[in-house]
């Protein structure tokens, strides 16, 4: 058996596996490079290098154990974190998503207007001399021509097939598109500008109509600004990801680009009134929710553990029932509770004989959340509290009893302090978990009811993380920069709390 690890066969297997993986990664690297994703390509290249170096040489034994784990961590945890940090310093939201180059390109592409008369023609799209082309019918003047990006070829009406509306159906050397090509035509044709005359060109409006247009917005690369050649308006780079008219910041060109604005996303949290109000309320509720969750689940769990800390009849049976809520997949439980709180069709109102619209009132919704979380969470604290109770040396309790302490005194002076000492890291971990308990809030109330606070984004039961999610992926404006900034603030808060908890549990000391 041991020879398997040193033999030639195993080396050959290893060689084949490493080379296969490297080959796959190499293909990915090439395509990433071709798409100009240099960071990703670079990361993949380093990965290949490390793989070969680690597994085909004897440079480091620990690295052989580490490498796959580290690579996954770096790729899918560490780089998203760093990317979040970067995004948080950018104006990165709906309307400011692309790079500056792409934004300029798009502004140019959109920056044209129809001519003064609004001239338009019936057209057929197709190909002429291997190029994308349109067959244009000027039905008023009975003039026909083929237009490509660079050329305009006049046609003789006699050579054409013309239908009853005077529109040319086909022309010699002009091949109309097949159905299969039509499906892809949008991409190929919609941005093309087909030659007309002077500064005017024909832009497509759908596949049947061409509009005579001219470029209105012109980009001046040296001055980094756009000029409207008709009105004379100048749009300058406002340094925040848009070309805007100087002095009237609301008049800017779409789209903008993602531009660095440094700490503005962070300062906005404190200075922007529309954001600060909801944020403060959401923060207060987040802390309240996390605290109440820990307190209620711990209290119920502890009471149960105390009640069952004696070998009473049916203890094992009780135990199995009590941990059922914990064994159920939580996602199912939350959805089920959501149904139970339904006003008309839910069991809770049935049971109480009431008609409460649970999720329409902030107070009831909050109560429902705490109750559901109690149901989900108490078995965990029951389990660990019973474990902790058994870990308390019975000599201590006996000694106290001999010294004349009554049971209540023993509990308050000995059991409880010891329990808290053992469990405090888990209580803190539970607080940190509930601080970001997205699933519960999102699936139960969706953060609602709305309109209690700022109706736009935050609802009355939104916690920071669900609020952030709405900012990043909401329906109206998706502000990835702001969401990243809030995410990092949450991380700093939660990490400090967790670090404090860990320091208390002395985990850190074990490797110092």
């Amino acid at each position: 058996m041991t020879s398997f690890f040193t033999g030639k066969v195993s080396f050959a297997i290893k060689l084949v596996v490493v080379l296969l993986v490297s080959a796959v990664l190499l293909t990915l690297t090439q395509s990433a490079f071709a798409q100009k994703e240099y960071f990703i390509a670079g990361f993949l290249a380093i990965t290949i290098f490390l793989l070969i170096l680690t597994y085909l040489s004897k440079i480091s034994i620990p690295l052989k154990f580490f490498l796959p784990g580290i690579l996954l961590l770096v790729a899918f945890v560490l780089s998203p974190i760093l990317y979040t940090v970067t995004m948080s310093t950018y104006n990165y939201k709906t309307g400011n998503i692309v790079s500056q180059g792409e934004a300029i390109e798009q502004v140019k592409n959109r920056g044209f207007e129809p001519d003064a008369n609004g001239t338009s023609f019936d057209i057929k799209i197709g190909r002429y001399e291997m190029q994308e082309a349109i067959l244009v019918s000027d039905t008023i003047n009975k003039a026909y021509f083929i237009s490509t990006v660079n050329n305009r070829i006049p046609l003789n009406a006699a050579d054409l097939t013309i239908n009853e509306y005077s529109v040319a159906e086909s022309a010699p050397d002009f091949e109309t598109l097949s159905d299969a090509d039509m499906a892809k035509a949008d991409e190929l044709y919609s941005l093309k500008r087909f030659k007309y005359q002077d500064e005017y060109f024909i832009a497509l409006e759908g596949f049947e109509v061409g509009v005579v247009s001219r470029q209105v917005l012109e980009f001046d690369e040296a001055k980094d600004q756009f000029k409207n050649v008709i009105t004379g308006d100048i749009y300058v780079n406002n340094g925040r990801g848009n070309y805007a008219i100087a002095g009237s910041p609301d008049k800017y060109l779409e789209p903008g680009w993602r531009a660095p604005i440094w700490f503005e996303n962070y300062t906005k949290l404190f200075t922007d009134k529309r954001l600060r109000g909801p944020l403060v309320s959401v923060f207060i509720w987040t802390v309240t929710f996390a605290t109440l969750s820990v307190l209620t689940t711990f209290a119920l769990g502890l009471i149960l553990a105390l009640a069952l800390n004696k070998p009473i009849r049916g203890r094992r049976f009780y135990r199995s029932i009590l941990i059922l809520p914990y064994a159920m997949p939580s996602i199912m439980s939350i959805l089920i509770w959501g149904g139970m709180f339904n006003t008309e069709f839910g069991a809770i109102n049935n049971l109480l004989g009431t008609q409460i619209a649970w999720f329409q009132s902030a107070l009831f919704a909050k109560f429902a959340i705490i109750l559901v979380n109690l149901w989900l969470g108490f078995p965990y604290f029951y389990l660990i509290s019973s474990g902790a109770l058994q870990a308390i040396p019975s000599e201590l309790l006996e000694a106290a009893a001999i010294d004349g302490a009554n049971p209540r005194q023993i509990f308050r002076r000995i059991t409880m302090p010891l329990l808290l000492q053992i469990l405090s890291p888990l209580l803190i971990a539970s607080f940190a978990f509930n601080f970001n308990n997205f699933n519960l809030i999102y699936l139960l109330t969706g953060g609602g009811p709305r309109a209690e606070l700022d109706g736009e984004l935050a609802g009355a039961t939104d916690i920071l993380i669900s609020f952030t999610y709405k900012i990043a992926f909401g329906n109206s404006i998706q502000d990835l920069g702001l969401a990243s900034a809030i995410s990092l603030v949450i991380f700093v808060l939660v990490a400090s709390i967790s670090m404090y908890g860990l320091r208390k549990s002395k985990v850190l000391e074990s490797f110092e």
Partner: protein, 283 residues
Amino acid sequence: MNLWLRNNAWRHALVIFVCLFSLFPLYLVVISSFNSTGSLRLDSFIPREFSFANYKMLFTDPTIPYMTWVKNSLIIAGATAVLSVTIGSASAFAFSRLYFKGRKTGIQLLLLVQMFPAILAISAVYVIMERVYTFAPSIGLGTQAGLLLIYLGGAMGVNIWLLKGFVDSIPKELDEAAKIDGASAVQTYWLIFMPLAAPVLAVVALLSFIGTFNEFILARLFLVDMEARTVAVGFQQFIGGPYSDNWGPFVAGSIIASVPIVAIFLSLQKYIVNGLTAGSVKG
């Protein structure tokens, strides 16, 4: 009798009350699943009908690709559990048993990274995978493979941390003896450590499986296609409508999906409880 009352009656009363609290939703789900009207209404505590209509609908209604969802969940959560434990245990072994430069910094960094809730970086993950999609459509945004990779990365921090706690508790003498007998680190890992740690690895894999099974938000962002969804995403969208009358098939489906997990959980509860505390409380 009097003494019994004082000492034990309150215990039974309290525990029975909480048992009812914990059983109520589950009981409701079971009776609703056999009720053909399809709501979570409680008309009576005693079931009035015993119909398999909801279960039948679950497997025959073409608008509810339930079996596909279950299959997706099993594949994604199963692969995440197996791969993350395999990869994670190697790293945990190295952190616990091998000595090298930067070990302490490595552990502290790991501690910090595993505290970062994956959900906070969700916009970054989204944008990155959107970019990956442009050159590798098979692992980018919208694919199960991409989601699996993200789960693997996300599970790594916590799993290495948990597993390290377990490895630390395995007596060092065993692998020192192996070392004296001339075994290399790789041999020690496969021949000594793996057989010893197998039950523990199974528990961490199970926790990882349950965690992934319950994961909702990344799965929802990623899996847009009806056919690609997991049970969690599928059901959430399915009962998401405001006047939804889909509760019947939903409760039936959640029972089928939950029973195996609950059964495994109950049978392994002793190990799981140890596992839950090992990461944070060290003996």
